[in-house]
Symmetry: D2
Subunit: 175 residues, 4 copies
């Protein structure tokens, strides 16, 4: 299948772009909140690698050409959490952090061997049912305390665990 | 009627406190948002003074002793917008601004002749029906453009119009 | 001269990239502050077009491949304000806004006919002497009030005037 | 000695106020930064209790009546770091967090047995020499990694260690 929609790149084009400039990403930390807005749990995507390795992930993906950051957030949330998750994208685009994933390790706490990606990170309350649509993915809810625990942290890679801890700190749930 | 709940002050006690230290307030800018979180309209409270003067206001009020900022926000939103407004208090307590109302004019853009009040200001999407419960108040929705217009701005007092413009700027709606 | 450093693109390569994905930018609003951190003036770059048109601009530029956002900010500030401006890049990368410049007008308040650019915007106090090094540019300081005035706003293009007003709102100087 | 300046309270008056409403505080995390604004070290105040207990603290104190938040920040920084610390108070009053210290433990991660205090927390780069003026206090610089370590965290009390970790998360230094 050939991607023809504007904004979508062939694999070759993406490789070419990655070799030339930082790629803009959005990252979302899905949370459940109570009536006062306080975070009660944090959702992490789960992928089991063929070798049985557990990998937990944030919702994350590229911003396409001519796509608003808000629309990219909504698209990736719907892709990963399903059509009835009812995500509440923030009214302000001010991210809680900017995570710079470098192909070289050690430049920042974030690392992506494929590319230099710069991710705008948001906390997104979700009110509905989450039904991950992609076969390899499941969504698991953790208490803020569990999410910050070494057990969960070591199941996250590339520094997404750091972004998660930054999110918990931002909502006052990192103790 | 005598207030006996902890945190509530008699009128005399409040006067005494006001003469001694800054009073902590919360302020909320109620907004309607679309599916992508973009602000589509802004809600302002309306009070008609006995002389016919129109005064438009943000949701605003004191934080009580032993009350969390989140609970104060929810309490004032319910008081001013009614019980089914379904306000979505932000997950993070980081305010978009801190508005310092001084009894002396000109120290800051904010002014309150009664007291030195320091308000933590938040943008709060509301999803339900707003039915102001207090007799003198009504809630009117404006487009972001109308909300920033001189007409609406001059109907706000004490610098709340400035807080409103800061809110609009924060959500990318001040053009 | 041929650019050979990694991260630098030939004109053709840049055109190619622009046709494929959003380009990551940083934007800085240079300010003078007093001892308490309050903004006393705002610096705008001045360019006189051949037809005599006055154009005022923020410090702005691309983030290169393998370049940190902080380093991009410093590089563009030094390029536009000279080597002894002593800019104080913020300790946190949380921008006050994210400005999305679209090639199509009207999608957002920001517009760039050349490309889809997404700019992380920061307020940067500068403590030293500003000596713009590029021939066509000068730096002029305005009071916050002047910077928000229609006169200055109409000399800015592509929505940078909006970013400037957002910056003024963020520091409590938009009245 | 009797405090007569407006804003200053006698001990009795302060006790009275504390029994009636939340007290507004500012908190500052002093940091050293490099040319790009990246945090290189974090300063903590040290107090040795008569029983030899080590207590590390942030710069912290009350906002007085008719005092701006900026002026309170500067006053407490000068009190604790001396007159030539050259603190760079942020241009924006948007705090990185709001820490709610409750007299009852467990309501929030923050606890102050004396009072209900609500602290606006800021990261403040200091460029000069820090010479704590109060006898019982010293200032010690830590790397971000040390500051987040259990060793330092257990020497902080009342939840200030949490505020410190939130600050480190905000500047991208919590790994």
């Amino acid at each position: 299948m050939i991607e023809t929609a504007p904004g979508w790149l062939t694999r070759d084009e993406l490789e070419l772009a990655r070799a030339r400039m930082p790629i803009l990403y959005v990252e979302a930390v899905p949370v459940r909140v109570d009536d006062t807005g306080a975070v009660t749990s944090v959702g992490l995507l789960l992928r089991i690698a063929p070798d049985g390795t557990v990998n937990r992930m944030l919702v994350s993906g590229r911003v396409l050409l001519q796509e608003r950051v808000r629309d990219a957030l909504l698209r990736h949330l719907e892709k990963d959490l399903g059509p009835v998750a009812l995500p509440r994208i923030p009214a302000s685009l001010q991210p809680f952090t900017v995570a710079e994933y470098f192909p070289t390790q050690g430049v920042t706490p974030y690392h992506d061997p494929r590319q230099h990606a710069v991710a705008l990170a948001y906390i997104v309350p979700v009110a509905g049912d989450c039904r991950p649509r992609q076969d390899a993915l499941d969504l698991v809810w953790f208490s803020p305390q569990e999410a910050a625990s070494p057990l969960v942290q070591q199941e996250m890679s590339g520094g997404q665990g750091v972004v998660l801890k930054q999110a918990l700190a931002h909502v006052g749930c990192l103790t």
